[in-house]
């Protein structure tokens, strides 16, 4: 590395000047200028579709800007591919991982290698271990990536990004998919990198995390950089106002609550301080069962991933499903969705046995679903409007033909209601992460299901959308539907649920009203401390 570390204060490590990126008539980035100094962590906030990922991709060479320059160490770069960016000392962890599951940690890291030429396995492995030490990540370099948890996979991505001598690290919503413990580990790594003089740019929707990790925070709104503040002195209300585009007072007024109680904004910006939309536990628990699992067992590869699950969700209640990821939640959602077969036991939706029913019959029985696998739930090349009605095509058919006006009208209504930043005819592939999520939520909720199974419903959503989704779930409960809420965010679970069920190694190890579900108690159960 060239460039002395002596006059670092004056000279920014990374400097973006006048970055502009246009998609058709949409300005994704509008004349954005930004500097990151060595040893500085800059957080970036903004609503879904504000242009954060686009800007990060510009820096990393994944997107070519229409105007503007990227400079490292005062030297303008010609970055037009990630390879160029890596060469210039920029590393990035994108919103979606790009790992090969059937390869080891070492091989995945080495894959990103530029110019390694001949592969010397022992040497590569040594260098990977060295990089992990440098970053403060401890992972077995010979494990298959497919066997790693989401948090571990992200650490592999980080090691990958830092494998080459990196001076600037970009993290696009790194915490969205992480458990609280993993977030802590990630922040530890970030602090270590900061201490080593790297410049770090991190996107997040969670003000609490921004406050914890960053030195400076910048806000993007509809493609423009509208704020640049020192984290230590900025108030949450001010950031929220910058993001949403109102004045501080307006935002404060809109979210005002009686004195003494934590404001709704605080709850929202903290992303899930236990501030229930409705007093939790007040929901009736005497409604008839809308989802009934009895002795549900699912085997995958000769192993029981779910064994003997008994679970009831009644009309008018939200049941939270807690558990450390990898303890069977994903499989439970899949088996309910109809994409994974039941091995034994039964499954009823609203009184109908759907144990071996196909997806169509489950939908007809009144089941709504949102799984973790967003990519596997949308047709990327298809328009937003048709993705929205994909589960309800017969309802939009008149005399054998699709009622295109009705499809369009429905899409416009959903776009309005869920504040989706897209036009009905846009291909879903072009949507930002949060907006794609909103499309799926809209699809599931618009059907007014009798029972809704949702996994991580607010992952990657901005503050406004986060609150809106919580309201919607609450409304669904009030209307008398049942909700099974799977979330790794304990705060979210405790804020919304009437009852909490804990899953450990594919078994239900605890069930309690939310009032008794203290984080400590849940933590013990989730760690297996409650199993006999």
């Amino acid at each position: 590395m060239t460039g002395g570390a002596t006059d670092t204060v004056a000279r920014p490590l990374l400097e973006l000047t006048g970055i502009t990126k246009r998609y058709g008539d949409l300005l994704a980035n509008d004349d954005v200028s930004l500097r990151v100094a060595p040893g500085e962590v800059v957080a970036m906030l903004g609503e879904n579709g504000a242009g954060k990922s686009t800007l990060m991709k510009v820096v990393y060479g994944l997107v070519r800007p229409d105007a503007g320059t990227v400079a490292v160490d005062g030297r303008p770069l010609d970055i037009s591919s990630p390879k160029d960016a890596m060469g210039a000392g920029i590393g990035m962890v994108t919103q979606e991982f790009s790992l090969v599951e059937t390869m080891t940690v070492t091989d995945n890291v080495a894959l990103s290698g530029t110019g390694l030429g001949r592969v010397d396995r022992a040497e590569t492995r040594r260098r990977v271990v060295e990089a992990m030490e440098r970053v403060g990540v401890s992972l077995d370099p010979d494990r298959l990536v497919g066997s790693l948890s989401i948090g571990e996979r992200q650490r592999v991505e980080i090691v990958k990004a830092l494998f080459h001598d990196c001076r600037v690290v970009i993290l696009d919503e790194p915490t969205a998919v992480l458990t609280p413990q993993d977030v802590r580990a990630l922040f530890e790594t970030v602090r270590r990198l900061r201490a080593a003089g790297l410049g770090i740019l991190v996107v997040s929707h969670k003000l609490r995390e921004v406050a914890e990790i960053s030195d400076r925070v910048v806000v993007l709104r509809r493609g423009r950089l509208v704020g640049d503040r020192v984290t230590a002195t900025v108030r949450d209300e001010e950031l929220a106002a910058l993001m949403m585009g109102g004045s501080t007072d307006e935002v404060a007024a809109a979210t005002a609550t009686p004195a003494g109680e934590p404001s709704e904004l605080e709850a929202a910006v903290g992303m899930g301080d236990p501030e229930p939309v409705q007093p939790a536990g007040a929901g009736p628990t005497t409604g008839e069962p809308v989802l009934l699992l009895t002795g549900l067992t699912v085997s995958r590869g000769g192993r029981d991933v779910l064994s003997g699950i008994d679970l009831t969700v009644r009309a008018g209640e939200i049941v939270g499903l807690a558990g450390v990821s990898g303890n069977g939640q994903t499989e439970l959602v899949e088996v309910l969705s109809g994409t994974l077969p039941v091995t034994s036991g039964t499954l009823e939706v609203d009184g109908q046995d759907v144990t071996s029913a196909d997806v169509g019959r489950r939908l007809a029985a009144g089941l709504g679903r949102l799984t973790e696998d967003r990519r596997g739930s949308v047709v990327p090349q298809m328009s937003v409007e048709y993705n929205l009605v994909l589960e309800d095509l017969p309802a939009y058919t008149k005399r054998g033909l699709l009622d295109r006006k009705a499809v369009r009208a429905h899409a416009e209504a959903m776009i309005e209601r869920f504040d989706i930043r897209a036009r009905p005819a846009d291909a879903v592939a072009t949507l930002s992460g949060g907006n794609m999520q909103k499309v799926l939520l809209a699809r599931a909720l618009a059907r007014r299901p009798r029972v809704l199974v949702v996994a991580q419903p607010t992952r990657g959503l901005d503050i406004g959308a986060y609150r809106y989704v919580h309201q919607q779930l609450d409304e669904l409960r009030t209307e008398g539907a049942g909700v099974l809420l799977v979330s790794e965010d304990l705060d979210e679970l405790r804020a919304l649920s009437d009852r909490v069920v804990v899953l450990f190694r594919g078994e239900v190890v605890g069930e309690m009203p939310v009032a008794e579900a203290s984080p400590d108690r849940l933590g013990v159960l989730m760690a297996g401390g409650g199993s006999s």
Binding site: Y23, G24, R64, V72, R75, P76, L77, D78, S80, S81, D84, G87, A88, S337, G338, T339, D358, V359, G360, L363, T371, G376, S377, V378, V379, P380, Q381, M382, Y386, L390, E391, L393, P394, Y396, T397, G400, L401, L402, R404, T430
Partner: protein
């Protein structure tokens, strides 16, 4: 210079891409035309324009396009659903066999009964030939690209076997079948021309298919199954069953093509009943963007070129194969040009001084 993924696709892009491809093709074919000793411009005129300037030429274009309409739309349906049916050639041949069988067995049937029966037999033949690979795919997950392709030469062998054996012409002894009963002769669609009712049937099939693909729930499901099978499955589409059905429909339509060719043009089965129509159907479907209207346009264009090619070879004394070469080059050029729909060409500015390498 490099390719960059494109976000939005402007509306003008697809037509412009095709136009550019045609120009590139013209430029490239100029060389061999020159080598063959003819003037390129005169040749182009004869390839593309001359057929369209006379009624007779126009009729010939429609006639030549007819089998391509059938095979093109057949392939398009299957491809849309993500089922890569490369077997339209074999299905076309089996359709021809089916029609010939009923046509030479029930020779006395009157036209109102004979014609529907002939088409039905053709569809059945094509469907039969499509069943095996579709079933293998559905039950055992065996790749249909390989199986459908490999069944094509088998179908040709069946045709040749029949013509050399049981179906050898009973009067001349040639390896052509007997003539079909006269009730099986498709009447002319346009008076005093060779354009027969097969063209009309093709148009009906294409219109119906086009409406189903573009305007119905089934069409949306087919598209979803083809583009993102996992997401389609998640949304309640039985992808396996849908592909199975599309595969059979595809085979049946290709078989109709065979029926149309037998009853409308040859009136008997010959070993050359298909001039590679099934393979050309893949070109037609792909160039036509798997849409009904696209299939019509490309089939007519290829019909135009092949009629023109005969003309060129007669008048300008260049090999008739130049027409085939023209079509093939056009396919390559259009496919390359179509990549612009997804990618943008970007001229990389000279790295500025200090730019890192």
């Amino acid at each position: 210079m490099k390719f960059v993924l494109r976000g939005h696709e402007p509306r003008w892009l697809a037509p412009v891409a095709v136009l550019v491809a045609v120009l590139v093709t013209l430029a490239l074919t100029a060389v061999p035309i020159r080598l063959a000793g003819a003037a390129p411009l005169a040749a182009y005129e004869r390839y593309l324009v001359t057929p369209l300037t006379s009624t007779h030429g126009l009729h010939e274009v429609l006639l030549t396009a007819t089998p391509l309409l059938f095979t093109g739309i057949a392939v398009a349906i299957a491809f849309r659903a993500g089922y890569w049916n490369i077997g339209a050639e074999g299905q076309f041949l089996l359709g021809a066999i089916g029609t010939t069988w009923v046509g030479t067995t029930f020779t006395d049937l009157p036209a109102p009964v004979a014609l529907p029966l002939g088409f039905l037999a053709g569809a059945a033949g094509g469907l039969l030939w499509a069943v095996v690979p579709a079933w293998l795919k559905r039950r055992a997950g065996i790749d249909e690209v390989v199986t459908t392709l490999l069944l094509n030469p088998v179908a040709l062998l069946v045709v040749q076997g029949l013509l050399n054996g049981p179906w050898r012409n009973s009067s001349s002894g040639f390896t052509d079948s007997d003539r079909l009963g006269s009730g099986f002769d498709l009447p002319a669609l346009i008076p005093d021309s060779r354009v027969h009712w097969g063209f009309g049937v093709a148009v009906v099939v294409i219109v119906v298919t086009g409406v189903v693909l573009a305007r119905t729930a089934t069409g949306v499901r087919i598209k979803a199954a083809g583009q993102a099978p996992r997401a389609a499955e998640f949304s309640g589409v039985d992808v396996g069953r849908l592909q199975w059905r599309c595969a059979l429909v595809s085979g049946a339509i290709a078989g109709l093509g065979g029926a149309s060719q037998v009853m409308g043009v040859q009136h008997q089965l010959t070993a050359g009943i298909s001039d590679g129509y099934g393979y050309t159907g893949v070109i037609v479907a792909t160039l036509g963007g798997l849409s009904a209207i696209g299939v019509v346009l490309v089939a007519l264009l290829l019909g135009d070129i092949s009629v023109g090619a005969q003309n060129v070879s007669l008048v300008l004394q260049v090999p008739a194969q130049l027409g085939a070469m023209f079509s093939a080059l056009l396919l390559l050029a259009v496919l390359s040009a179509m990549s612009w729909r997804r990618y943008r060409l970007q001229w990389r500015p000279r790295p500025r001084s200090g730019g890192s390498r």
